[in-house]
Symmetry: C2
Subunit: 227 residues, 2 copies
DNA sequence: TGATGTGAAGCGGTTCACAGCC
DNA sequence: GGCTGTGAACCGCTTCACATCA
């Protein structure tokens, strides 16, 4: 086990490995080799071993990895053993859709509060989740122990919302506004930019007509995107 | 101008440049140098020049790039000058939220149809967009000239939905189900995996406690994520 | 002079291949 | 024998630095 900087590409793959293990556990598998794991889920065995080796020697030579044990390790490494409390800013279509997104609860995230600046919405509820005035963000965030914020407001408001969030001491933010945001470097910002993804599809469509059927091996970045 | 394979990282940045140009146009700027563009939007000037040079010699030495002209070039390159018709499969919270996502229309995408397998929903409308039976996908897709599909169904149905989509001849698919999908290589699949993004935030939170304030230069992958 | 376009260097991540251990 | 953990080779993307041209 090394104490080097772990690439985000590695941690992203840990999430994927965790999913694979869930499937294997459901089937009752006890051990799995990196080779078998790779074959089955279309991954690379050397990469699996290398990714895991950053965090410890979880495998047993000649045997492979113990499925349940490895699952526990990954859960721990990803910090998924303790609950995270999420605030969603923007109670529009997207914000409310995210509020009962199943994936949150699956990863031990709980949506604790919604925020908006629209008088009409404030005080309403989406499922069990109340909509608060964005002005009260810091107060509510502290009270409800929010540690993750999701920005689901129009692009032009995103930067100021982000500043409010960071001033309240939140260190992890997911942004859905299609605009680049600036943060201090002790805050983790993940931007999910649907516009870029869409335009990437558009580019593909505009340039694939000529390449009829003929196709190349996807490069590593493309594999990353396809997951 | 070269005829090599263009990396998706490059085309993603073209989307970003296009946004920057929109802002500059709104301000009435006529020309911009790669250096100024980079400074202002926190990009790298050499990279801008290299990205653009893949597609032509758009710049003028000693001057820079003509803003309006470059905007037109990028729009053309990204295939955004012609409308794309989108079908969204899954008329749940996410699917309906996406249906009137502003970003679609901004990039010249029009949501033409929703699909579901729930009898209750079929025949209903979300805004102007009708919900069809997924069984009729091929027929409706052909009639409405759908060229992009969005998968917004639970993970366990995603693969079979994808197959239905590709059998109907759709070549560009955006997937929101948190599961890796397999496609033939002439189909472009972009997966937006919120679970991975969330768990990446969780990892950061679990490992940042010790790194109090102390921080490192983000690497290129992280910059990519932050956009 | 000033800014582009581009070969070359640098850097990070992936894959190979094998020594080491069960 | 089988599989892990890992140094080394490889590959692709980014950044530098400068020849080139308006």
């Amino acid at each position: 086990m090394k104490v080097e900087k772990i690439s985000e590409l590695t941690t992203n793959r840990l999430s994927i490995y965790l999913r694979c293990l869930n499937e294997l556990i459901a089937e009752g598998a006890k051990t799995i080799s990196s080779e078998k794991l790779a074959k089955r889920f279309h991954l690379n065995s050397a990469q699996i071993r290398k990714d895991l080796a950053y965090f410890g020697e979880f495998g047993v030579r000649g045997v492979g990895y113990y499925v349940g044990e490895l699952h526990n390790h990954l859960t721990k490494i990803l910090g998924l053993e303790k609950e995270h409390c999420v605030a969603i800013i923007g109670a529009g279509r997207l914000g409310t859709a995210l509020t009962d997104y199943y994936g949150f609860s699956q990863s031990n995230f709980t949506v604790a509060a919604l925020f908006d600046n629209d008088e009409e919405k404030i005080g309403q509820k989406v499922g069990n989740v109340k909509i608060f005035d964005i002005k009260d963000f810091a107060k509510v965030a502290k009270r409800d122990k929010i540690d993750v914020a999701v920005i689901a407001v129009p692009a032009q408001f995103a930067q100021s919302v982000l500043e409010k969030i960071t001033q309240a001491g939140i260190k992890a933010v997911m942004n859905f506004a299609p605009t680049p945001l600036r943060v201090e470097c002790d805050v983790k910002l993940k931007t999910v930019d649907l516009t870029i993804s869409l335009e990437s599809l558009s580019y593909f469509l505009a340039h694939s007509n000529n390449a009829n059927g003929k196709n190349l091996k996807p490069n590593s970045t493309e594999r990353r995107n396809a997951l």
